[in-house]
């Protein structure tokens, strides 16, 4: 009994990318990610370079899950934002429903600015991801007809 898959359509993907690009400019950030709470990367924008975005998404999700667990132990529902400040690079994470908005920034920006801009777009992102999570089953799923041969071919 797995959950219903999340389906991200091309139009939705480009809408999200556009919002992240705008946020990146407004907050003078290096990289912005949207990931789900399970650690799956939805979209990213910015100076990726050699950044291992998959690992970052997974670790951010683990981080939010761990602090969320601590929040519940002290009677809070969750901690809606997390910040980690390094000597040069910093990370700010906002929990938006079942998704995480992750902003990586350096001395060209500041935690205050990133917090402010992240909060300003969170409602817009919430509306977009609500549409994604409401989309439900895909009537034209390309996987409805997966054969055993298709699956076996992955391991050959």
């Amino acid at each position: 009994m797995a959950d219903t898959p999340i389906l991200l359509r091309e139009r939705q993907y480009h809408q999200i990318k556009a919002v992240l690009a705008r946020l990146r400019l407004d907050s003078s950030a290096k990289v912005i990610f949207l990931v789900d709470k399970d650690g799956q990367e939805i979209a990213a924008q910015g100076e990726m370079g050699n950044l291992d975005t998959t690992s970052l998404a997974s670790l951010a999700a683990g981080n939010v899950a761990a602090t969320g667990g601590m929040a519940q132990l002290i009677g809070e529902k969750e901690f809606p934002t997390l910040s980690h400040e390094g000597e040069r690079e910093s990370i700010h994470i906002s929990v938006i429903g079942r998704f995480l908005l992750i902003v990586v920034f350096d001395e060209r920006s500041s935690l205050g600015l990133v917090k402010l801009r992240s909060k300003q777009v969170s409602q817009q992102i919430f509306t977009m991801i609500d549409e994604i999570t409401q989309s439900g089953k895909d009537p034209d799923s390309p996987f409805a007809e997966i054969t055993d041969e298709d699956i076996d071919s992955l391991f050959n």
Partner: protein
């Protein structure tokens, strides 16, 4: 939870390796990491203690190939096996698409296997899953050791449904990819249902 991205034509699925402490969960991932082409996998992230015991989780993304024009990526996780890390184990099961239970075949670890299996059922339930319905594979690990329980006896004790059972020696790679293949197949088969 499976994530299907139509824009980048990717399917992402989450597999969790579960089992008692020192049963070989991390060793499974380490073997996959060591023997897979670098372009097919990402880094192996291990959040471990100073004595190399898993503290929170190990994580490795693995790309298997293309199905119906979609790249299939599996995110492989292990849980910390030690009993007192239960809160972490629950968190890692969130959004899981398939589970591998790695059992330690040694006689003296039988109680630990059973305790861990009950713990898996409970923790799945607390996240809204049912072991009887989720894609699930049982791996009998450490089959090379002298003091092991015979396969049929061990499987009879630990089997919960008609799950595939794979004998393994994770340290040398025996059964590691058979296990991965079995669970990946169950997860992808689940996608047929939408």
């Amino acid at each position: 939870m499976t994530f299907i991205n139509y824009a980048s034509r990717e399917i992402n699925c989450k597999i969790v390796y579960y089992g008692p402490g020192l049963c070989g969960k991390t060793t499974n991932l380490q073997y996959i990491f060591d023997t897979t082409a670098p372009q097919a996998r990402g880094k192996l992230i291990s959040l471990a203690t100073e004595t190399d015991r898993t503290l929170f989780f190990d994580f490795m993304p693995l790309e298997l190939g293309t199905v119906r024009g979609f790249k299939t990526r599996f995110h492989l996780y292990t849980v910390p096996g030690q009993v007192f890390y239960d809160a972490s184990r629950k968190l890692i099961l969130k959004g899981v698409d398939g589970v591998v239970f790695v059992a330690d075949s040694q006689e003296e670890r039988m109680d630990a296997n059973i305790e861990s299996l009950y713990n898996l059922e409970e923790n799945l339930q607390s996240q809204g899953y049912d072991l009887m319905k989720i894609p699930y594979v049982l791996q009998l690990n450490k089959r090379d050791l002298p003091n092991i329980i015979p396969k049929d006896e061990l499987a009879e004790e630990l089997k919960r449904k008609d799950e595939p059972v794979v004998e393994a020696v994770a340290a040398s790679g025996t059964g590691v990819f058979d296990t991965l293949k079995a669970v990946a197949k169950l997860v992808l088969t689940e996608l047929r249902k939408g």
